[in-house]
């Protein structure tokens, strides 16, 4: 019987998810023995035209990481969707928008202006901006166009599974590979992680959630054994799906939500905001104002990895051109 065909691709990504797959160490040899990897830009030399030549649904499993923010990324997402039996949104960017999703606080125009004209380290005296079509003496060059907004993979094509995390922990990847190889994948549409929150698997000492004030990291030295939230450090554990092994907490850093919202939550940021306001101690208008001063960047902090996946999806702009 022919070996299953596997593909991995990155859209608006950083390479971390691909490195996480490589970090499965010996498991990668098992994966290579189990299946034929037919497309994986970071590791193998297959080109887009190889993928276009494949028959529909000939790729058994495609792990797609990275968010969608350009015409090329959307095109390849649709291409891989057509060629794949099972398409997995791999990593926080594909699942929720990820860090590139923070671009939904700004606009395409502002990004282009900053990157190509305003940035202090630029040397671009003619103010050249990238163009979709550029004429050169020898012919024409083309580039993809940027969309106004960042989208998750599921907002562009149907997806069978979601593996969250920035990046997904290597042991979770190993677990998923084992499930796939033994035919024991959970129901289609599942987010392959814990059904509970990060708080649930956190082994720090939790007493009562009553916060007198929120601190920024330079304002306090935290006790590594106690709950960070109870000490006044904003930790997104209560509104984040578990399954990551609390790796950030173990490094004494608060959770920032890269596993996305837990089961039953539509908007991670709204839920986290609700939790923060609930546990704050203070019933007077002065206390409320104090809290507002202490939570410096609510939208950025609560939607760190999930802005495109949120209910509002992006900051409202006067005129949205295209997507």
């Amino acid at each position: 019987m022919a070996k299953p065909k596997l593909a991995l691709y990155w859209a608006a990504a950083c390479g971390g998810c691909d490195v996480a797959v490589l970090d499965t160490n010996e498991k990668i040899l098992e994966i290579a023995a189990f299946g034929d990897i037919v497309f994986w830009p970071i590791a193998l030399d297959f080109k887009y035209h190889h993928v276009r030549a494949m028959e529909d649904k000939s790729i058994d499993l495609c792990l797609f990481n990275g968010a969608i923010r350009s015409t090329e990324q959307e095109e390849i997402a649709k291409l891989l969707r057509a060629k794949s039996k099972v398409l997995v949104a791999f990593g926080a960017c594909a699942c929720f928008g990820g860090i590139p999703g923070l671009a939904n606080f700004t606009t395409r125009e502002e990004i282009l202006q900053r990157v190509y004209k305003e940035a202090p380290s630029n040397s671009n005296p003619e103010g050249t901006l990238p163009q979709v079509k550029t004429k050169v003496p020898e012919g024409e060059l083309d580039l993809p166009d940027l969309f106004e907004s960042v989208q998750t993979l599921e907002q562009v094509v149907p997806v069978e599974y979601f593996i969250p995390g920035c990046p997904p922990p290597s042991d979770l990847i190993v677990k998923v590979v084992d499930l796939y190889v033994t035919g024991k994948m959970p129901p289609v549409g599942s987010i392959v992680a814990s059904d509970k929150t990060c708080c649930d698997e956190c082994d720090r000492v939790k007493e009562e959630k009553k916060v007198a004030r929120f601190y920024r990291p330079h304002e306090i030295t935290t006790d590594p054994k106690k709950c960070l939230l109870e000490q006044g450090i904003i930790c997104c554990g209560p509104a984040t799906r578990g399954g990551c092994g609390m790796r950030c907490i173990k490094a004494n850093m608060p959770c920032r939500g890269c596993f996305g919202p837990p089961a039953g939550v539509a908007d991670q940021g709204a839920k986290m905001l609700s939790a923060i306001a609930s546990i704050y101690q203070g019933d007077t208008p002065e206390a409320v104002n104090k809290m507002l001063d202490e939570v410096v960047d609510p939208a950025g902090t609560f939607y760190r990895f999930g802005l495109p996946d949120s209910m509002l999806k992006r900051k409202k702009v006067a005129k949205v051109q295209g997507k």
Partner: protein, 139 residues
């Protein structure tokens, strides 16, 4: 003749105080704009920020949350939670480009029928001036 923009306001009213206050406005035959759609919740502290976002998503131009006056909450602390949640949500909505005035929290007691009518009137006119919501995420 141009058609005047009629804002759609969703109101989350707490069962014990503000919903009764709204009822009183009704039985007293006080006029208030029909632009508001009222949803009764047990407490203003029950209002999950996701409700507010969903209201905007589904067609609301403004969201009004009404609860008992501080100290009068039927559940003791619920309205204090709302008093913290709503300003923080407003701060976040401002970062998302949503204009000040589209989300409002007001205390209305069971005996304040007139106050309820005034609150709805003011809210409707304020949102009318702001114009249609036109934000993203609109379904």
């Amino acid at each position: 003749m141009s058609v005047r923009f009629e804002p759609r306001i969703v109101g989350f009213l707490c069962n014990w105080c503000s919903y009764s206050g709204a009822d009183l406005a009704g039985t007293s035959r006080l006029k208030y704009p029909p632009n508001i759609d009222i949803i009764r919740v047990m407490c203003s502290g029950r209002v999950d920020p996701q409700f507010v976002l969903k209201a905007f998503q589904k067609g609301a131009d403004g969201v009004l949350i009404c609860g008992c006056h501080p100290g009068d909450c039927h559940y003791a602390e619920g309205n204090y939670k709302a008093a913290r949640r709503v300003p923080l949500l407003k701060k976040m909505l401002a970062q998302m480009g949503i204009e000040e005035g589209r989300l409002q929290l007001e205390w209305v007691s069971a005996s304040e029928g007139e106050r309820f009518a005034t609150v709805v009137n003011e809210m409707t006119e304020r949102v009318r001036k702001l114009g249609p919501y036109n934000g993203n995420g609109r379904q």
